[in-house]
């Protein structure tokens, strides 16, 4: 049996007395498209933050590429080959799109500790950033600051910054949230173009889009996994309807 890319066992997180994630276990093999579904407050983003290392778990264990990362910091996990996007766009608004991607590229290189060499003169890095922007169709806006771009373009930039790091595990937190119909199609096409050697775990509310994208779906409610299985299994499961419709 091959080592799963992501393995979570008995993961819990309490904020004071409030359980945000309760005893969640999950196994995501290489290349899988895993979807996390659930109403607001189900604990999906907290679960993401636990995997990414933003919060330490109260209980449980997280393994990435077979390595126990439960006590590792967020930046150490990134160096193992994990990248993520945020539900609330988190970019450098005064910088150009190109600069944002360059910062993403530098994050995995030793260059990040260089206090002397002028970053502007690292031409190979800027070329690579430009190529990454072209991948998400933003190369024509490369020199614009983030402040001068639309919401949809920012969402694509978020994905570009994650892809720039050539991750093996990609966590996407509502990549389609707040987008217009056209923008959604663009981002959807972009997500479908990501090669299969990248394992994707995604949170998304749009059922149609999500179901078309996912191999396996995990439905969460009140911090717990309620249903897990293939698209057909999850759609057919009465608990899914209960979670979404309340009956």
């Amino acid at each position: 049996m091959t080592t799963p890319v992501l393995e979570v066992s008995g993961l819990s997180r309490f904020f004071g007395g409030l359980p945000a994630v309760r005893d969640v276990s999950m196994r995501v093999p290489a290349g899988e498209r895993r979807l996390l579904l659930g109403p607001n407050g189900a604990g999906k983003t907290t679960f993401f933050n636990l995997i990414a290392g933003d919060y330490p778990p109260s209980q449980g264990e997280i393994r990435i590429f077979g390595q126990n990362v439960t006590r590792k910091s967020a930046n150490q996990r990134t160096h193992l080959g994990m990248a993520r996007t945020y539900q609330i766009i988190t970019l450098f608004p005064k910088n150009t799109l190109l600069h944002n991607v360059v910062i993403s590229l530098v994050g995995l290189r030793k260059l990040r500790f260089d206090p002397w060499s002028d970053l502007r003169r690292q031409t190979s890095l800027w070329d690579e950033a430009r190529a990454t922007l072209a991948l998400v169709g933003l190369d024509h806006l490369a020199e614009r600051t983030v402040m001068e771009t639309s919401y949809g373009e920012r969402r694509r930039l978020e994905i570009a910054m994650a892809l720039a790091q050539k991750p093996k595990l990609l966590l996407l937190d509502e990549p389609l949230a707040g987008l217009s119909a056209d923008e959604r199609q663009d981002v959807q096409r972009l997500l479908q173009s990501i090669p299969r050697d990248v394992t994707i775990v995604m949170i998304e509310h749009d059922m149609d889009v999500a179901l078309a994208f996912a191999d396996v779906i995990t439905v969460m409610q009140h911090g717990k996994v309620v249903v897990e299985g293939s698209r057909a299994d999850v759609v057919a499961d009465p608990k899914t309807r209960e979670v979404y419709l309340g009956h």
Binding site: D54, S73, T90, F92, D114
Partner: protein, 333 residues
């Protein structure tokens, strides 16, 4: 992208700094200029933390004071030569910055501010109470200025150029640092620390390295401070010295290269020159700061740049309107 106006302003500024001893005849004013330059180096180092790192420190006088105490003690009381004394003072003070950075960066925001304040005040207390070593309230003196390369630093003009070289070095090194990957990472940690962590950056380490770099330049300022005054007292370590450096940075413009230099000039001139004419000069200082905060909240350098740009934009607009109305008039006629 730097505009021609930027280079022109820079050139005029540089020429004015170089010609200053000829522009002001009195030795008194040349000495004031030397004080401004030393204060500017301290403010530049603090600006690395505040402006580029988002770490507001109220203990930056620690590096100025410790470096000054060390160099005076080593050269005037322990028999060390000037070069050895200077190198040990800078090295040991940078080491102290490593320790203080390690302690202070356990917190962020207000917590960081309070830890730096506490560490600075501990050092002030030590300098004040450990009289057998530091001279207590009477301070430590007896130092003579060195004669590097045969230069007589007792001469005000030569001393001014001597400290000016250090200011030039500080500006150059800090400008390079800001444009480097580490400097850019520091600015990233200021704006989006969480995102930086997710991108693989060790935010703590970046901030600590920058803290130490700032401490190094604080130590250089302390060395020059000791050379200038040939004396140091607990006042150099006191909260008011840290607060003055903070005011210089805020008044000149945080996160800009030349803002702290302008801020240092403002504070030193008010403190030394204006105070000779106005007894309650602190009130004037307060009024000026309130005015800066009200009219140029981003500081003098970025604020003036904004004003000049808006004036130029307005005059261009007026010129355009005049041309358009002349053409329209011409057509009508």
């Amino acid at each position: 992208m730097r505009t021609p106006a930027f280079w022109l302003t820079g050139l005029i500024g540089l020429a004015a700094l170089l010609a200053l001893p000829w522009l002001v005849s009195s030795e008194y004013y040349i000495n004031i200029a030397s004080q401004i330059v030393i204060a500017a180096i301290l403010a530049l180092s603090l600006n690395l933390l505040i402006g580029f790192g988002g770490m507001i420190s109220l203990g930056h006088a620690a590096y100025l004071g410790v470096s000054a105490y060390l160099v005076i003690y080593l050269t005037a009381h322990a028999g060390f030569g000037h070069l050895a004394g200077a190198l040990i003072a800078i090295g040991a003070t940078t080491g102290l910055a490593m320790l203080f950075g390690y302690l202070a960066l356990r917190a962020s925001g207000l917590g960081f501010l309070m830890i730096t304040l506490a560490l600075g005040q501990i050092l002030w207390g030590v300098a004040y109470r450990w009289a057998s070593l530091t001279g207590g309230d009477n301070g430590l003196g007896g130092m003579k200025r060195p004669h590097p390369f045969g230069l007589d630093l007792m001469h005000p003009t030569i001393f001014y150029y001597f400290v000016l070289v250090f200011l030039g070095l500080a500006l150059w090194c800090i400008a390079r640092f800001i444009q480097s990957a580490l400097g850019q990472s520091l600015q990233g940690t200021r704006d989006q620390p969480r995102r930086m962590r997710a991108l693989g950056y060790n935010v703590w380490l970046i901030q600590w390295m920058s803290f130490v770099f700032a401490g190094f330049w604080g130590a250089v300022a302390g060395l020059l401070y000791a050379y200038y005054h040939q004396f140091v007292s607990p006042q150099a370590l006191h909260l008011t010295t840290s607060a003055e450096a903070l005011l210089m940075v805020i008044a000149g413009g945080t996160g800009t290269l030349f803002g702290p230099v302008v801020g240092a000039a403002l504070v030193v001139i008010l403190k030394n020159v204006v105070s000779a004419y106005i007894t309650r000069w602190l009130i004037l200082l307060g009024v000026i700061f309130v005015a800066i905060v009200l009219f140029m909240p981003e500081g003098l350098v970025p604020g003036l740049t904004r004003w000049v740009r808006s004036l130029r934009g307005r005059s261009l607009k007026e010129k355009k309107t005049t041309v358009v109305s002349a053409i329209t008039k011409d057509r009508v006629l």
